[in-house]
């Protein structure tokens, strides 16, 4: 029953990882940018929610209404002002720029907020759970996280497949120069895609903060690695694959946690490396290119 419980918790944890991975996947799929600062963007989202709560007393759910679009706008401008220029300079430059951002954010956060955890209380949501069977309870928050993750992936999939903007994004991923010949400024399309990635990252960051009861400046580094691992385990280019990858990672971590509380991160990393060696294309074959 302990194992079953860990399995279920792991699957639900996978929802969080999938949410973290989704933004990374969008940025890579459409812009070919690997955003090394992705985890930091998530952290910033969580910090904004925490600050809104501590200074204005705004409820977490309410703060999402501001935080998510706000980081979307930030993503739009980061793309337009920094990354677009970097993209024109070659393959290394976008990486180096995002790495620079990944260094700036946590250190600035430590200086501004110290290394203490900034609380994101959720009332009794964090402790509420549903009993499925004897000894098997699932938390309401993890369940909600998984639900949101699934909805986000489905929504993103639909958005890319069905809307005009989604079509432009896929076309820009294929051939941005030709898209320009069709009267569409690919730089705007890229910027919207990055805005979307940032907004989803912020949402994921807030959910992470709720789960952990708060956020620290060091979380971004963990999150970017989790997100990346979920993307690779799931298989590049598949949005549903990120969910599968997230679940594999989540299960690996929670099962390892049953053995020893020190093991989850190490085992998660080792599972990732094993997948990389044994099945480098990921566990889900990609059909849709994104």
């Amino acid at each position: 029953m302990v194992i079953l419980n860990a399995l279920v918790q792991g699957v639900l944890l996978g929802g969080l990882f999938a949410m973290a991975a989704l933004g990374l996947s969008i940025a890579f799929g459409i812009l070919r940018v690997v955003n090394l600062a992705h985890g930091e963007i998530m952290t910033v989202g969580a910090y904004l929610a925490a600050v809104a709560l501590s200074t204005l007393g705004v409820n977490v759910w309410l703060s999402l209404i501001v935080v998510v679009p706000l980081l979307g706008v930030v993503g739009y401008w980061v793309q337009r002002l920094l990354l677009q220029r970097a993209l024109s300079l070659g393959e290394l430059a976008p990486l180096l720029v995002t790495f620079g951002i990944a260094i700036i954010i946590p250190n600035a956060l430590i200086e501004l907020f110290t290394t203490n955890k900034q609380a994101i209380p959720t009332g009794d949501l964090a402790v509420r759970s549903v009993q499925l069977a004897e000894g098997l309870r699932i938390g309401v928050l993890p369940l909600l996280t998984m639900l949101v993750a699934v909805l986000l992936i489905a929504g993103t999939q639909l958005f890319l497949a069905r809307t005009r903007s989604g079509r432009y994004m896929r076309a820009a991923a294929d051939d941005s120069e030709t898209l320009r010949l069709m009267g569409v400024d690919h730089r705007r399309v890229y910027a919207y895609a990055m805005g979307l990635a940032f907004a989803i990252a912020a949402l994921g960051g807030v959910f992470f903060g709720m789960r952990q009861g708060g956020v620290t400046p060091f979380d971004g580094q963990l999150l970017v690695l989790f997100a990346f691992e979920a993307v690779i385990i799931g298989g590049l280019g598949s949005l549903w694959g990120t969910l599968a990858g997230g679940i594999v990672l989540g299960v690996a971590q929670t099962l390892a946690g049953v053995v020893s509380p020190e093991l989850p991160l190490l085992v998660g990393n080792l599972v990732f490396l094993a997948v990389l060696v044994l099945r480098p294309t990921g566990i889900v074959r990609s059909k849709v290119v994104v």
Partner: protein, 238 residues
């Protein structure tokens, strides 16, 4: 009367090499103007200059008499100049229908919609749901032309329509081209296939090493003159 599209003393190139040298011509509404010349004569570069995808080192591009030389490619498309690029360049992960829809990115009004494009290019009819990467070369070219039309252009720039295609497919494409014409649409056609070009064009401009060396209506130009211009005077074919 001002021309629909005019090139005035255009020079353009890449780095130190000059692909187009001091070239001028004018395109009237409803006209098909063909640029002929051997590989490397600068035809594609010229089309890219006209579309705003390549910046000329000298000269002006005028649309309805207005200087659009510095109007960028996506904005120029919105003004009604559309390039169907060499190599088709379809969006490989999109379906044919989606490719056409992206072609309407400039949102200009006009007679071209997915339905009318399919009427003009009947070979697209059964392909709308297919992925662009699964098409044959001829089908891809038809989609590329249709996608270009979707922006309801006033000027359509067609680069190397028949390149790499089987003669029977080329026949079909050129037959469709007749249906595409009309409504004042001006077409600049770049083609290496002299035979086709002479048959379809209202006017020819022969380019040699970036220069316009000969121009006129197909009827007014002798085959020998065109061939000479095509290869240059000193080059003996084979």
């Amino acid at each position: 009367m001002t021309a629909l599209l005019a090139a005035e003393s255009i020079s353009a190139g890449y780095g130190d090499s000059r692909a187009v040298a001091d070239l001028s011509f004018a395109l009237e509404p409803g006209e098909v103007l063909a640029l002929v010349g051997a590989n490397g004569a600068g035809k594609s570069t010229l089309l890219r200059v006209l579309a705003g995808a390549h910046r000329p080192s000298a000269g002006r591009v005028l649309l309805h008499g207005e200087d659009v030389t510095h109007v960028r490619d996506f904005e120029r498309n919105r003004l009604g100049v559309c390039l169907v690029p060499e190599g088709r360049r379809l969006f490989a992960s999109l379906t044919v229908r989606e490719n056409l829809e992206v072609g309407a990115g400039s949102r200009r009004d006009g007679r071209w919609t997915v339905d009318t494009v399919v009427d003009a290019l009947p070979m697209l009819g059964d392909l709308l749901g297919r992925n662009a990467s699964q098409l044959s070369g001829g089908q891809q070219q038809a989609v590329a032309i249709g996608r270009g039309l979707m922006s309801n252009p006033e000027v359509l720039l067609l680069d190397e329509v028949s390149l790499g295609l089987a003669p029977i497919v080329i026949d079909e494409l050129y037959a469709s081209l007749a249906a595409v014409r009309g409504g004042g649409l001006g077409i600049v056609l770049v083609e290496q296939d002299l035979e086709r070009t002479v048959a379809v064009a209202d006017r020819l401009v022969c380019m040699l090493e970036g220069h316009a060396v000969l121009s006129g209506t197909p009827a007014s130009l002798s085959r020998q003159a065109i061939t000479d211009a095509y290869f240059g005077h000193e080059v003996t074919p084979w």
